[in-house]
């Protein structure tokens, strides 16, 4: 029996993390913003059919950057997890925290056991009854789970976009203002303007009924920015 080469775990983790980060840092950014009336999810997306932002459950949304097929696998797995839990127990037992933990566990296992790690970072946003009850979870390619306060940025130009949004958003920020600010920050960081139909914007709407997720139309985006 041949002996495999010894690779120190530090080296393995570093190699894998470098590999994953390289892919993710090229991904077009996603911005998630907490508002008084909901949680806004914004991304640049030139494809009208491949979605980066999606509905998971009544009050939970998903957003991913990196390799499409990988975060699509995670999105579908998350919907299955949520629907199965809600079907087996009750709709109110499906929580963003539970889902974020499941993502974290799963990504952690993929990172250390699979041939290559997933090149994705994802966000799980859960709408609370009030702004103070909202949760935004960031889950990294290696399973690292972090809470975000107020807003979160994924993908390319994280630092530039975060710097532009820091202090600009807060209580009282309207939907239109948040869209205008976030889109401008993404365009500024990328160095080129983005057409209205190349944005993918969705809202978890605090004023809606049971299912709070809704996509904004190109017209709504145009009017918010004008």
């Amino acid at each position: 029996m041949s002996m495999p080469f010894y690779v120190p775990p530090e080296q393995m983790v570093k190699d894998r993390a470098d590999f994953a980060r390289k892919g993710i840092s090229r991904g077009r950014p996603i911005v998630v913003v907490q508002l008084d009336d909901g949680i806004l999810l914004i991304g640049e997306n030139r494809s009208p059919s491949l979605r980066k932002i999606g509905e998971v459950y009544d009050r939970i949304a998903f957003a991913g950057v990196g390799r499409f097929n990988e975060f699509e696998t995670l999105r579908v797995a998350g919907i299955r997890y949520a629907d199965l839990k809600g079907f087996s127990y009750s709709r109110e037992d499906v929580t963003g925290k539970g889902l974020a933990n499941a993502y974290s566990q799963t990504l952690g296992q993929v990172f250390s056991h699979e041939i290559k790690p997933y090149e994705v970072d994802i966000i799980v946003a859960e709408l609370g009854e009030t702004r103070a009850d909202d949760s935004i979870f960031r889950i990294q390619f290696d399973g690292t789970l972090r809470d975000a306060e107020g807003f979160a940025v994924l993908g390319a130009y994280v630092d530039e976009i975060s710097a532009a949004l820091e202090g600009a958003l807060g209580e009282g920020t309207t939907l239109e203002q948040a869209i205008a600010l976030s889109c401008a920050a993404i365009e500024e960081a990328g160095g080129e303007p983005i057409e209205a139909h190349d944005w993918e914007i969705a809202l978890l709407d605090r004023t809606a009924g049971r299912r709070t997720f809704r996509r904004l139309t190109t017209d709504e985006i145009t009017s918010a920015r004008s």
């Binding site: 998971v56 797995a77 629907d83 933990n101 993502y103 799963t106 990504l107």
Partner: protein, 263 residues
């Protein structure tokens, strides 16, 4: 389960499959009732439900009674449900199974919509429901029968549509009205007298309420409105704008004159 799944999210499962029922089946947790013969047990039965088309959509309604043998088992059972934004479903038959079946059906429609990013067509929803009834066939032979009515607004055809089913999952397009359950024949006879293609919304609502009263008068298993206790039928209206449930106050106001004018 022989496949090795990664993490709590079962990453090994096929991503392209948008069916929730398949998820349950793959994981071995789909609802099953294994029984040799159910004729010896008295399980609650949900009775009369009906649906009728009108000028701008469909009205679907059901009484509130469930019976077990000769007993009234429940007086406030819900037999009519919103299935999704543009469709509704009503059930008659073995109540426990029917409620579970509806829950599964509603989850399936929402699950599909979330994964695919688009709703199933109305035709697709009606066919899936037929498949679910057919899956219950062996139980139907043992006396545990579930028969639904399904209706919705077909956004492509811009019209309300209505589907009835038989016990083995046969699916039938109905152009005018349909009923099922123990008081179904009586409700059907009533609707036959009043139905027109151009019924207004209020006329269709009144017809559905009176058809159920008519059924309750002839069939002991169907519960009429109980004005004293505030028990009214469940009535849903489906139009291009979506599904709207008629609240009890409105139903009370509509029911009182109908009851007063009954021969």
């Amino acid at each position: 389960m022989t496949e090795a799944f990664l993490g709590p999210l079962h990453l090994g499962e096929p991503t392209a499959d948008a069916s929730f029922l398949s998820v349950l089946q793959r994981r071995g947790v789909d609802p099953r009732w294994d029984t040799a013969d159910a004729s010896g047990i008295a399980v609650p039965e949900a009775t009369t439900v009906l649906a009728l088309t009108w000028a701008d959509g469909v009205v679907i309604a059901g009484d509130r009674r469930a019976t077990a043998g000769n007993l009234i088992a429940h007086t406030r059972v819900r037999k009519v449900y919103e299935a999704d934004r543009h469709s509704a479903v009503a059930i008659s038959g073995t109540a426990g199974m029917a409620v579970e079946l509806i829950k599964l059906f509603r989850t399936e429609l929402e699950h599909y919509e979330k994964i695919e990013g688009a709703s199933l067509s109305l035709e697709g929803k009606a066919n899936f429901l037929a498949r679910m009834i057919r899956g219950n066939l062996s139980l139907a032979f043992q006396g545990l029968i579930v028969i639904p009515l399904f209706c919705g607004y077909d956004t492509k055809e811009a019209t309300g549509r209505l589907f009835s089913y038989d016990v083995i999952g046969g699916r039938y397009d109905e152009l005018d009205y349909a009923t099922t359950g123990s008081g179904g024949a009586e409700a059907r006879a009533f609707l036959k007298g009043v139905w027109r293609r151009d019924l207004s919304r209020d006329e269709a609502l009144a017809a559905s309420i009176e058809a159920l009263i008519s059924a309750a008068e002839e069939d002991s298993a169907t519960g009429g409105p109980d004005l004293k206790r505030g028990i009214y039928p469940n009535v849903l209206v489906v139009t291009a704008d979506g599904v709207e449930e008629i609240d009890d106050e409105t139903l009370a106001a509509m029911t009182a004159p109908i009851v007063a004018d009954r021969p």
